[in-house]
Amino acid sequence: METNLCVAGFGGQGVMTLGKFLASATCDSTDKNVTFFPSYGAEQRGGTANCFVVISDEMVGAPLGDVMDDLIVMNGPSLQKFLPTLKKGGTLFINSSIVSDQIDRDDVKVVKAPVTELALEMGNAKVLNVIMLGVYVGYTEVVSPEVVWGTIEHKLAKKAKLLPLNKAAFEKGLEIGRSQK
């Protein structure tokens, strides 16, 4: 069993961090193999950024697959660029706050979450990636939510005052993900 995930968005949306949290959680708390491969050009904030996470029971062959099982898109350009790579029957997770484009495929499942708006409601736009990670984990259970939260907690250990906000964000995401199963 191998899961290929692509996470794509603007630089600054926490796309890499989302992927790294998931890869770390897999490494720390399971015996699965995992790779995290970031892909960005010379862009800074506002440019496009994407990363690939492969979680597998066997040795990961290609850290960058051609065909994705799951796709998380945080902005419009990423939808256009990566939707063709999503396999038939794959799952598209979409930041419905800012991605308004029509999805021109009916052979994929779509999970919508307005993560930009939700993050702003929580008072910090930066947690949109943690909400989306919650949505993804809640929907797929590729790694257990407890394990993922344990990793986030560990990574944020030096910024303890941010923990309650991130906890709320992650749980909000889980709730959305589970409700759309």
Binding site: D28, N33, V34, T35, G41
Partner: protein, 359 residues
Amino acid sequence: MARVLMKGCEAIAEAAVRAGCRFFAGYPITPQNEIPEYFSRRLPEVGGTFVQGESEVASVNMVYGAASAGTRSMTSSSSPGIALKSEGISYCAAARIPMVYANISRGGPGVGAIQPAQQDYFQATKASGNGGFEMMVLAPATVQEAVDLTYAAFDYADRDRNPVLILADGVIGTMMEPVELPEMKSDEEVAAIKESKKSWACIGHKLDYANRAWIQPGHWLTDEMQKANEDAEEMYKSWEKDIMVEEYMVEDAEAVIAAYGISGRIGKSVVDILRKEGKKVGLIRPITVHPFPYKSFDKIDYSKCKGILDVEMSIPAQFVKDVEVAVKGRCPIDTCLCSGGNIMSREAVIEAVNKIIEK
């Protein structure tokens, strides 16, 4: 031992520190910046020295100096930066100075592209500087292999008193993967390694002419220069025993993928996918690309094998030239290539293998 999720570049740096590397000098270039960054933080913790040189040329010569004084030393760069270091590498080879360097290679020629590529194969294996010297060139396909090979590289370098090159690409350098790290050499072990080099290294010799250490990147007398090259050639020949290669399902294969580094890894996953479909596909992945495992290609059953597929992220193909030498015309060789920072597509490799099998 517990596994940790590490980025390839950082894992290479940590493996070097654990192998006793106590000096690093480098200069920034994507996609290897995490190597110097990691060393800059880590080396002071273990009593080592990190220098960001004013250029690649300065950095490699600092390593030449530190290694001449018996300290396990390293530098790293990416393709165009490695080209700039070639003079210093050649000097280290001539002076028989053990040092380790890593090329986290990117697109080329020229300034090329910042994304991963395998365009430096000839440079790495055939002519890393002037004068026809050779080095062991180690090509990891996973972050774990990058760690293990870096750790071993320092031992090879010291054994031979010769530079060793880690030839990785931007995928291995920038991806994160779980690794188990090797044991940290103790301060005593690191000191003992340095002490063992006292017969030749500049570590506290008397000032009189007869006894002082003498590091020189060449010889003024023709006979001495020839003797030095003859001695070096003896060393190069001795590497036959050090060849490392992954031979995967080769014996009954109708098509054999030949690839190294990240392309080799992708190739292996293609073998697994196609074997599940009942197709007889194998893989030969050199881990030492120099010395090259030519003999591995003698294990192919050429009465069954319809073709070899050379897979590399280089246009034109370079690695294929060594494959041709190894195959000796016993079956056709096709190529599956990409370049410019594009990463090898698994689907493209599958398609190319199928073409061979359906012949």
